[in-house]
């Protein structure tokens, strides 16, 4: 009897002790507006993960799992998607979550002027409320990428009344339905969230408060972890990993990300595309073969990142073993250049100024020189780089993509004729048909076959030369338990606690 009380007492004490904890997370960047509709930053998504629940989420192996939607079904023709919603969910201001709220959110994403979710939801025609817990999406045409889009900002649900009242300023005081609610923010310093006790799964979240601190300097961020001022530091530099792993009191988690880094070659965007490399795929193939991807990753990232030979990372069900990262082959590269009649092609390679960019591009320059390339490097800051690319004012550009759970997100806009991200202006009707068909079916095997057909063409014509996949690397205190790395780089706190 007495031991029973003692144990109960001890459990109660430890529960309260645990629930008084604050988790401190160090971010590399300052999030932009905390509103899922116009939100564009990666770190903003990290904050949303704890603050704004979404209709569906992904598992560590990229399967779509229920969240605010419990189940879903598509009609035979793929044009109607119906969701059954979770019952008993309220927004952080007390508003009920229901089908009407879903309808409001999708329409907000599609019509709000600052919203950049419009392209992701382009296939949605109307949203119908069938009953409070059933909502129907009527699509203009079948879209197998829609569910994946709803695992991110397009599927995040904001409180309708709060959003209507705040208008464009909603992001200054966001109200969602996630496990943690917004408390305060000092721009470029920190964001504080506090536990919402009314959350439908509140007991899975042990922290009372989360503080996200913006510490852009990677050394300073790591120092803050090591000095005990942070519990989790995101995007630890790959060159710091071995040293951190050797320290007692800290753990390192890593996972290959959904995104890639590559070289985009201008094949048809204005006068700069007339350079030999833009006109002859053999020169592009030679460049790809001149690069020792493993060597690049070893030299620049202490071997922590992973060579890439296609747009989609190994964790994806659509990754194709038939297209491994090409090994270096200088002889073949030189032979290709000879056949193309340009043994010493000149390439003006542009990239965004950063110490990492400089390292990577100088290595590429040196490797390519051994095959006969004369690579000239030009670095500019980000906004100028964006303009340079859209204007076609480049021959080659070393740039990456943060990655999406669905392969379409890493491919479509880059390859279709006139695609929004197709800065190289590559245009091939066969590719357009294949990529269009891949959107129309949800059958994994069928889509995988289509993407293999796509790879056979794209990896031969090479408007984009894939270099490596980055890894998300988190440094955490050894006291952190229950942390699972996800390939989208998000920090999911369900079941995560700090040991005493």
């Amino acid at each position: 009897m007495k031991t029973g009380f003692l144990i109960a007492g001890a459990l109660a004490l430890s529960a309260t002790a645990a629930s008084a904890q604050t988790l401190r997370i160090g971010l590399l960047d300052d999030p932009d507006l905390l509103d899922p509709a116009p939100g564009k930053s990666f770190v903003g998504r990290i904050v949303f993960q704890s603050m704004c629940d979404k209709l569906v989420d992904i598992s560590p192996d990229l399967k779509i799992v229920p969240r605010l939607a419990l189940s879903w079904e598509t009609t035979e023709d793929g044009k109607v998607l119906t969701f059954k919603l979770r019952d008993g969910v309220t927004f952080q201001d007390g508003e009920p979550f229901n089908a009407a709220a879903v309808k409001y959110n999708i329409e907000r994403d599609k019509t709000m002027p600052e919203s950049i979710r419009k392209a992701e939801l382009a296939s949605v025609d109307t949203v119908e409320v069938i009953d409070p817990l059933t909502v129907r999406f009527n699509l203009k045409k079948p879209d197998s990428t829609l569910l994946a889009a709803l695992t991110d900002r397009s599927g995040m649900m904001v409180a309708p009344e709060a959003a209507k009242q705040a208008g464009a300023k909603f992001g200054l005081n966001p109200v969602c339905s996630g496990p943690y609610k917004f408390v305060e923010r000092v721009q470029q310093d920190h964001i504080t969230l506090a536990r919402d006790p009314n959350y439908w799964n509140a007991k899975a979240f042990s922290f009372e408060k989360i503080v996200f601190r913006t510490i852009p300097d990677s050394t300073a961020r790591l120092a803050s972890l090591r000095s005990g001022d942070l519990d989790i530091a995101e995007r630890v530099e790959p060159t710091d990993v071995k040293e951190l792993e050797a320290q007692k009191g800290f753990k390192v988690f890593s996972v290959v990300s959904l995104g890639y880094q590559g070289l985009t070659i201008n094949v048809a965007n204005g006068p700069a595309s007339k350079a030999p490399i833009g006109q002859d795929k053999r020169i592009r193939q030679a460049l790809s073969l001149a690069i020792d991807r493993q060597g690049l990753v070893d030299a620049a990232f202490d071997g922590q990142f992973v060579p890439a030979g296609q747009a989609v990372p190994p964790v994806s069900p659509y990754y194709s073993d038939k297209f491994p990262p090409p090994a270096r082959d200088l002889d073949k590269a030189k032979a290709l250049l000879k056949a193309a009649g340009v043994e010493h092609p000149v390439l003006n390679l542009r990239y965004t100024t950063s110490s990492r960019g400089q390292k990577v591009n100088e290595i590429i320059q040196a490797m390519a020189a051994e095959a006969g390339f004369d690579v000239k490097l030009v670095s500019t800051e980000f906004a100028t780089q964006m303009k340079v690319q859209t204007d076609g004012d480049f021959e080659g550009s070393q740039i990456g993509w943060s990655g999406r759970p669905d392969p379409d997100g890493n491919i479509y806009s880059f390859y279709v004729c006139g695609g929004g991200l197709n800065d190289s202006h590559y245009c091939n009707q066969d590719v357009d048909k294949i990529l269009g068909d891949a959107r129309l079916t949800t059958d994994v095997a069928a889509r995988k076959a289509l993407y293999e057909k796509f790879n056979a063409i794209a990896l031969d014509e090479l408007p984009i030369i894939y270099l490596y996949f980055e890894k998300w690397i988190w440094g955490v205190t050894a006291k952190l338990q229950g942390f699972t790395p996800y390939p989208d780089g998000m920090i999911r706190l369900e079941g995560v606690k700090l040991a005493q």
């Binding site: 950049i116 906004a383 100028t384």
Partner: protein
Amino acid sequence: MSGVIPYVVRRALTALPTIAIFACFVFLLQKLLPGDPVLAMAGEDRDPATIAALRLQYHLDDPLPLQFLHWAKGALAGDLGESLRNHDTVIHLIAQKLPVTIELALLSTLFSLLIGIPAGILAAAKKGSVWDNLARGVALWGVSIPTFWFGIVLIIIVSVNLQWLPASGYASIAEDPWQNIRTMILPAFVLGNAQAGILMRHTRSSMLEVLRQDYVRTARAKGLSEMRVVMAHAFRNALGPLVTVTAVLLGQLLAGAVLTEQVFSIPGFGKMLVDAVFNRDYAVVQGVALCTGVGFIVLNLLADIAQLLLNPRLRAS
């Protein structure tokens, strides 16, 4: 003292066109930069409909003089516009960051005064000796060391290894004064150290100039102790140039010490300004430039008034 008030009024009046020209200049410089704020705002997916709507909303296609007038009209009415990136008003952003930057600037200047002036006095008083060389060596070291390197080294030694001070985690004075001091000591020291060298050199040369004067010889001849001669007579008169130099150094710090703020995660002006330039966040850059310009002008004015007060001979003109 009667000449001081009209002097201040005259200076304030001439400051106005200076600020107006400065604001115009900053505006033009920004617009000369390549790159498109809306493209920077539109995110990775670059939806063309959104881009067009945003350009319209923020008057980005209007002719330049119109855009500037639009801003100037708002500024005169007290509305400095909004950040394109997060819709926070520029006034609110400045209100959050300015106290931080002012605090860092004042603390750094305090450090540089505490290190630089005694070193300069010592160097001048013991010219040619070991102390002089030591002081000049310290000054050279302070000015040569890169602030971000020194900052990181201090963080690693003091925060990570010795665990004496936090590596980050700024709190405002109002919220948590103790944490505030703990997070400001290292960055203030780093910045102060860099400027101490400059102050030391100016103090030394100003003191040497004064120590050569006849009245100093007279004071010594009267039998006053060396300490009294140096401190009470020489230093008092060497203060003039030092006030001006300090005002200039303080003014520079008001623009924000970008690298130090970055390394120590201090949410001041510098970081905000640099980010705003990269994001082409015009309103924020204009607002910060305006603030800094006004601050600089005020500081110079205060320095000149201090000169008037210190040196009665100047008041006659």
